[in-house]
Amino acid sequence: MAPPKLSRRSFLASLAAGLAGAALPARGRDSVASSPIAIGQVQHDGRWNPRPSALKRLGWELARRTSIETTPEPVPVRLDAPGLHRHPFLYLAGDGALPPFSDAARAALRRHLQFGGFLLVDAADGSDGVGFDATVRPELARVLPSAPLAPVPQAHVLYKTFYLLDRQGGRVVTRPWLEAQSLDGRLAVIYSQNDLGGAWARSDLGDWEYPCTPGGEPQRETAIRLGVNLAMYALCTDYKDDAVHLPFIMKRRT
């Protein structure tokens, strides 16, 4: 495969992106994390990376808003390849049908999750009953047959791990809730049908790549905040359910 040519258009885009980056507020970085979080993006045989800039942008937002440090780029991982556990946070996206995983991939993912890993599943096509949705559900059921997908209740700690959230974000709002598979009281797999990646995706020029419908930019901000909360949940689990936090959170919610 020939290397891509550097066209005038892409050169100008890169230049503009560099200037925009310089103009942005300094990232909240007192010290560079010795072990930044490297989100593993699952490579599968379908369209596994429909929103190439999404995780990069989420990492940027995490660094700007929180003390979480991520690697500049997500790391593509294959479920059946060694090294999966180096990435306890996995991101599985797809646009259109998800080809079935191999047994080895399924077993590796199951083991990953059972030992404490976290999987965010994002339907980039915003499908419901067709496309990605129709194929990922049975696949998840095969990975964790004893943990069926179930809606995440609004009172779940996921909605207060960093931001206090009371609604869903995404490029679309196919479902106004998230679904999850739980292991030992912990959300091991979270499934969004609302194309979170589509709301996060931003071009090098600084443009949001996809409009968010029907809520527009507030819906996008909610999607970003949900992404922050998801990352916080992956790293801190139910920390915000600790008794010491409850009085503060109750005060702000009233």
Binding site: D30, S31, S34, S35, T66, F115, C236
Partner: protein, 733 residues
Amino acid sequence: MAALALTWWGLRTEPRRGRRLTLLALRAVSALLALFLLLEPAVQLLQTARSRLRFAVLVDTSRSMRFPIEPGGASRAEAVAALLAGQRAELSRLAERVDLDWRGFDAQTAPADVEAAARGLPSDGSRSDLLGALQAAAAGPGRRLAGVLLISDGADNASLAGGLTPPARAELRALGVPVNAVAAGREPPRDLAVERVAAEEFAFVRSSVTVEATLRAHGLDPGPITVVLRREGAVVAQAVVQLEAGQDRYQVPLTFRPDTTGTFVFTVAAPVLPGEAVTANNQRSFVLRVIRDRVRVLLVAGRPSWDERFLRGLLKQDPNVDLVSFFILRTNADQPGPQDQLSLIPFPVQEIFGPQLKTFDAVVLLNFNYAPYRSLDIERFLPNLRDYVRGGGGLAMVGGEQGFGEARYGATPLAEVLPVVPLDGAGLAEESFRPRPTAEGRRHPITAIGAGEAATAAAWEALPPLEVLNRTRPLPPGSGAVVLLEAPGLLVDGQPAPVVAVREVGAGRTLAVTTDGSWHWGYLAAERGGGDGAYRRFWSSALRWLVRDPELTPLKAEPDAPAIDPGASVGLSISLRGADYGPAPGRKVAVELVAEDGKTVARGEAITGADGAARVELPAAPPGAYKVSARAEPVPGGPTETAATALTVRGAGPEDGDATPRPELLSAIAELTGGDFTSLPGGGLPRLHQLEPEVVEIGQRRELPIWNRWWYLAALCASLGAEWILRRRWGSW
């Protein structure tokens, strides 16, 4: 009678009443004499004697008889001896009629003699059992018991301690003999005593404990006194009691919160007031074992990370851990948006690093830098954290870009307690390495993850490599620090950099894990099919070691009982485990019994058996509270293992604790059984009621006829003849 009536009827014609009566009398005499001769009466002769009975004299020989019979007076025992000496004549007369059965009594009865009793029997019994003594006297050998003379202060602390209960009355009645009593003492002496202390055997650390003390005060002036509760010399609680006229018992609750686990001697002490009869009863000691409910751990993380995620998950899952977490989720440089849309709380630095710090068993600083949060000024709490460790706390510092030298901890007071020297500004070593256990690390419970040293070394070799290391330097020998894991290829000052090190510092312990990658030993290792057992075992053992989990204490010494009777030897069970935490046979363990004043009162030693266990018997110690200090002879190059526990040797208990005489009890016994009662001082012997002796037949019976005397017949003839003559003369035919 019919004959007499006929005679009277036959004389109806006789007009003179005198003649009629005379004739009637003569006829009656004749009839009686005839009847006597017809019945042939006899006298039966029987030889009899009165049986000799036994009379018990019971003299109280319990220790309470040492108390003065009145303020400033002689002892009760001396007063009793004087009474008996003065009444010897009376007692001698009594001895002529009955067998005197002299006995001294306390918890048991023992034969005595009159001479000894008059001189004064030794008063050293540890209990007073009046009913037991009476029953023993009743059942005693020899003649049947006719009565008892009971001489005592009445301070029963056995079955009559609660007075004459219905069962006690029934048993006293069943004796069937009068009990005559002499009460030695009427009024309680001037005394303040800690009569009783009600405390649980166990208490939970940092949980409120209330000890209920009962004070007894007699003859004291009204006013306030201060009662204190001491733990091995240090006052942990106190209460002011207002003494009132007419009240002799006071309940004093003493509440405190033990802040250290272990077995301790506690003492409730009341002041010694002028003129007290007894001062030994002004304090009372007991042993309390302070244990943990759950291990309370404070986890502070400088940022969310996988190291934090997996350690929190491990600690949260442990039902024995009460985890309090604080993670820095944003810094001042972060821009998350409006505060009211966040779930974040201010970092409660004042609360957790201030007064609340000592409520934690262990503190884990995970990739946490104290410096960036200027408004919080965490630095001012670092001395407090250092002192927390020296005072017995556990501290773990876990690495990362905010740990050790990266946060310049080397220039802080924490450096004084850390198990490694943080190299400030030396930078992180970011290269792959496999930590290797040191010689100590292959045996230490934290890093001995295999069964044996070779297996441990192999297990560490098999774990996934680490990629980040904070550069630190080992502390010199003698600092109490030991490196357990080191990075073979990463040299600092020419020697491998420590990865895991521990230190005993003051009463506390510290742990250094100079990497933020310990989660690799669990989650990464699990990918290869080995599970995350090494990670779990490492951190679980580390926590238990930090908080001095008794299960990880190699040497244990347990007394057979926390409170031992006076005069009894002190039995101790010893168990010793080696560096591999298996039984350590053939090791000498020396044990000392140390009194509250620091003096060693007994020593002993034993060699551990194949199971690492041994028994030590120490000689009896005087009443009081003692620390038990055990020390195992170290193996060459090994650490000296020590253990400490505590026990009390009881005082004489109620005999010394309660100086109150109970004349009313003795009086009630006498009244119930039909005896008499007097009291000392002033009184003499009571009138000694006793059962009458029985009459018994001895020898053969003999019959003597009394009718066959000639004068009976002559008298009959004379009376009949006289009647005949008179009738003839008076013409009464």
